[in-house]
């Protein structure tokens, strides 16, 4: 191979390498993000070294609580403790979730309190502040007097937010959700995840994985309220059409064998389940109070522009 050709291949490879690096890891390692946070903030001081936890050691930090994180592309967490008055403590945890959709995901399955305008999504309540930005999920918690700690916790959150230079995208499926507020459907929650264990936490479906969900499936569970009813829409996207077909067949066989292949059935609680498969995706509406409202949601899913 001539020298010119080698140089050309090398130059062509550089952008590809840069793209793969930027997709595979966040802009800063979690420990470096924490290093940029002062060790003393107001009267709160961190004296110990930061702790680092990986996929294989996260159990040492949060025991069984590590399981949900491991269903995502979690890479590493850095933890720092600040001491205040007496035994009061602020615990800062920075999680590298591998990619922005997974940082959004872990935040989305947990979030319960009021948005406070930090990062790309945040909440504060009961001495717990959490937000996500790009591929980072950050949790800041106090064990002491919440009123004293809250301003410092918010300060810490804002410093960390400012050290994360770029933002990341939410999952594509979020933009495909039916927007039916003018029809009285209020979208209350969206939860993004990959695995069946998380679906069962959010909406118990079955003992066994009857949707063949796994690390490579992208799922969005949306909850709508309409006239006092809660209606759920599950959108699951698989790696291939074949995988989606197999999963859909198993779901129909396991959950609604009595639907006579129609993908619609009134269940034992008097509510409707309806489903359809489209390309690599499966869409299922649960708990629709009647057939029409269920179909409105199912038909309201926006098709992705090619």
């Amino acid at each position: 191979m001539g020298g010119y050709k080698k140089i050309r291949i090398f130059l062509l490879t550089i952008p590809l390498l840069l793209i793969s690096v930027s997709r595979a890891s966040p802009e800063k390692a979690v420990k470096n993000l924490l290093i940029e946070l002062p060790k003393k903030i107001d009267s709160w001081i961190s004296r110990a070294d930061d702790s680092i936890f990986t996929r294989s050691t996260l159990f040492n930090h949060i025991n069984g609580g590590a399981e949900p994180y491991l269903t995502y592309d979690f890479r590493e967490a850095a933890v720092r403790r600040y001491s205040g008055n007496g035994n009061d403590e602020i615990l800062v945890e920075v999680y590298d979730m591998g990619k922005a959709i997974d940082a959004y995901g872990i935040f989305s399955i947990e979030n319960a309190d009021e948005e406070i305008g930090i990062g790309q999504g945040s909440e504060y309540g009961g001495g717990l502040l959490r937000f996500w930005k790009n591929s980072y999920f950050i949790s800041i918690m106090t064990t002491g007097d919440e009123k004293t700690a809250a301003p410092v916790m918010k300060k810490i959150a804002k410093i960390l937010e400012s050290k994360i230079d770029s933002t990341g995208d939410k999952p594509d499926s979020v933009s495909s959700l039916p927007q039916l507020s003018e029809r009285g459907f209020n979208l209350k929650k969206t939860r993004f995840f990959h695995q069946f264990s998380i679906l069962n936490r959010l909406y118990y479906l079955a003992d066994e994985n009857i949707l063949k969900l796994g690390r490579n499936t992208d799922c969005l569970l949306a909850m709508y309220e309409h006239g006092g009813s809660r209606i759920y829409l599950l959108m699951a996207r698989y790696l291939s059409i074949k995988e989606a077909e197999e999963a859909y067949a198993l779901f129909i066989k396991s959950y609604m064998p009595d639907s006579a292949g129609q993908g619609k059935i009134k269940t034992e609680n008097g509510k409707w389940v309806m489903s359809r498969k489209e390309g690599e995706s499966i869409y299922i509406v649960f708990d629709a109070p009647d057939k029409n409202r269920g179909m409105e949601i199912l038909n309201g899913i926006k098709r992705k522009k090619e």
Partner: protein
């Protein structure tokens, strides 16, 4: 085994509701005995836990559970003189087993004829603890709270430290946590389960989080020999409190199915509340069960 789906539950729930009254009449007499004792003076917000009241509650509960007329005699139904006893506590920093309750249990174990040097109160490290290693009996005592990955942290969950590999119990939201009762360190040695419900936590968010908004002075202690039944009673109280507080049924972080599965899948106790002989003593205002 048949795959249990949401629809299966819908089908059976109507039958359960219809049969609950009948089941209660037929089975509660023969089911495991669980005592719930409450005293409104056990704890007062901002003033901590009343040691004397807690001792009195434990004593009354032990006597009600066994039918004995003194606390020492009641404890002797579980612990014999000369034994080595491990009191499996819980050291979670935000809501540990109250020291007052640990002391009350220890006192009655000594009264039963156990030398103080043969008693250990511990949580982490029980597998390496010399007293626990030689223990002929274990008393399991911990607070009632919701738990991020098992739904409820109760007496079953408290046995996790007897496993050298706790993470093997994590899959499927700790579904098979009940198998802890079969561990050689536990099986045959676990004599008594005490679920401290003085200040239970009925809701939480995320791992390691403790939210003071969701703790209340229930001022109760639940006690029994069947860990599954004791946890089932605790779960009912937490569910009722969530309903009362939030005004509607809200999902647990994780469905606490390990209690039911310890019964239905592993046959290690009774989780059906209608089959539990629940004895309620003391202050029962807003007992939620």
């Amino acid at each position: 085994m048949e795959n249990l789906t949401r629809r299966n539950f819908m089908k059976t729930s109507a039958a359960i509701v219809a049969g609950a009254h009948l089941g209660s009449a037929l089975n509660a007499e023969t089911g495991p005995r669980v005592v719930l004792i409450r005293d409104k003076n056990a704890s007062v917000e901002g003033a901590g836990i009343n040691e004397k009241t807690v001792q009195h509650m434990l004593d009354e509960a032990l006597m009600a559970l066994t039918g004995e007329s003194t606390p020492a005699a009641a404890m002797k139904r579980f612990i014999m003189p000369g034994e080595t006893v491990g009191i499996k506590s819980n050291a979670w920093r935000y809501l540990p087993t109250p020291r007052e309750l640990e002391k009350a249990v220890e006192k009655r174990v000594i009264d039963a004829g156990v030398e103080p040097g043969k008693i250990s109160i511990a949580d982490r490290g029980v597998l390496d603890n010399p007293v626990f290693k030689n223990a002929t009996s274990i008393i399991n005592v911990r607070p009632l709270r919701t738990h991020y990955w098992s739904g409820i942290g109760g007496c079953i969950k408290n046995l996790i430290m007897f496993s050298p590999t706790p993470s093997i119990y994590h899959p499927d939201s700790c579904a098979d946590l009940g198998l802890l009762l079969k561990l050689p360190e536990v099986n045959g040695r676990l004599k008594l389960n005490i679920l401290c419900s003085i200040t239970p936590a009925f809701h939480g968010r995320g791992p390691n989080h403790f939210d003071r908004r969701y703790v209340w002075n229930y001022n109760g202690i639940i006690i029994g020999t069947d860990a599954v039944a004791v946890d089932a009673v605790g779960l009912e109280i937490v569910k009722a409190k969530r309903q009362e507080f939030f005004g509607k049924e809200i999902n647990f972080d994780t469905i606490p199915k390990h209690i039911q599965l310890a019964d239905t899948r592993h046959k290690l106790g009774v989780s059906d509340i209608s089959r539990i002989q629940l004895i309620k003593i003391g202050w029962m205002e807003n007992s939620l069960i």
